[in-house]
Amino acid sequence: MKHTTFKFFYNYEKEERWINSMSTKGMALVDYYWTRYVFEEETPGKYIYKIEFLDKMGSKNIENIAYVTFLEDVGVECVGIYMHWATLRKEAKDGPFDIYTDLSSRIKGCRKMSKWWLSLAAFEGAIEVYELILTGIRISNGNISILPMIIFPSVIMAFTILFFSLGWTARTKLKELIKESKIYEA
């Protein structure tokens, strides 16, 4: 039987942990798109799930299609792709499941992710500046209303901070990996 749940995550590692804990409880994710999760009853712990940040966006991208075909050949199933994020699963009996096992690809992945979050933060930041200018104009016109003056800029500000902190976390991890690669072969 299938169960559909809606949930919002901003941190993919927490999301990954949640999906895996559901799998341990006997609910295996079979379909995913943005906040929509479809689970199917399954032997508890049958699958291990991983979320990967892809180079290209979307499930219809040619490079992503080629990658997904390759994954299927090596026993990894793609549950869903939303924007840059692919949710993958592998049967636990086939051993541990890590998508990247070498330093240089982990560095590459981290760099892409931090760039993505930081560019989103910059985008949101630009909108924030625009909103604040609008607010200034409204005040000078004596036009005062709560929604556009307080709520909108606060929401945008919250997103800017969130994206920036996600980007910063990825950047810190990236620096650690780069340091490690100076000693150990990447």
Partner: protein, 109 residues
């Protein structure tokens, strides 16, 4: 400044993938073979393997291998250039081993 001729070390993943492909193999076969060769020490992640295969194809160290059976899975095989790369890597590794054991032995004595 002229670029150095020195080629640097192969990554462990690349070295073992090249060794595996002395016989034609598909992705899953490579993963299992590398795991076996390294006595379960090296587990190639699918993302790492995919990236390595594409780079090795681009650099002509391996090529696609077409066999008669119409299986969907793509197979690969090492090229002459790939074999040369493996041979020079073995020479480099030998030098490391000889120097390492020599110095450590002197220190123990």
């Amino acid at each position: 400044m002229p670029e150095s001729n020195e080629r640097g070390a192969l990554t462990e993943a690349v070295y073992y993938i090249l060794l595996s492909l002395y016989h034609p193999m598909h992705g899953y076969g490579i993963m299992q073979n590398v795991n076996m060769l390294s006595h379960n020490r090296v587990n190639l992640g699918p993302g790492t393997l995919y990236g390595a295969i594409n780079t090795l194809l681009e650099k002509h160290l391996i090529e696609s291998f077409s066999s008669d059976d119409k299986s969907r899975k793509k197979e690969y095989i090492i090229t002459t250039l790939g074999k040369q790369t493996v041979i020079s890597e073995i020479e480099r590794l030998n030098e490391l081993i000889i120097n390492g054991t020599q110095i450590v032995k002197e220190d123990v004595e």
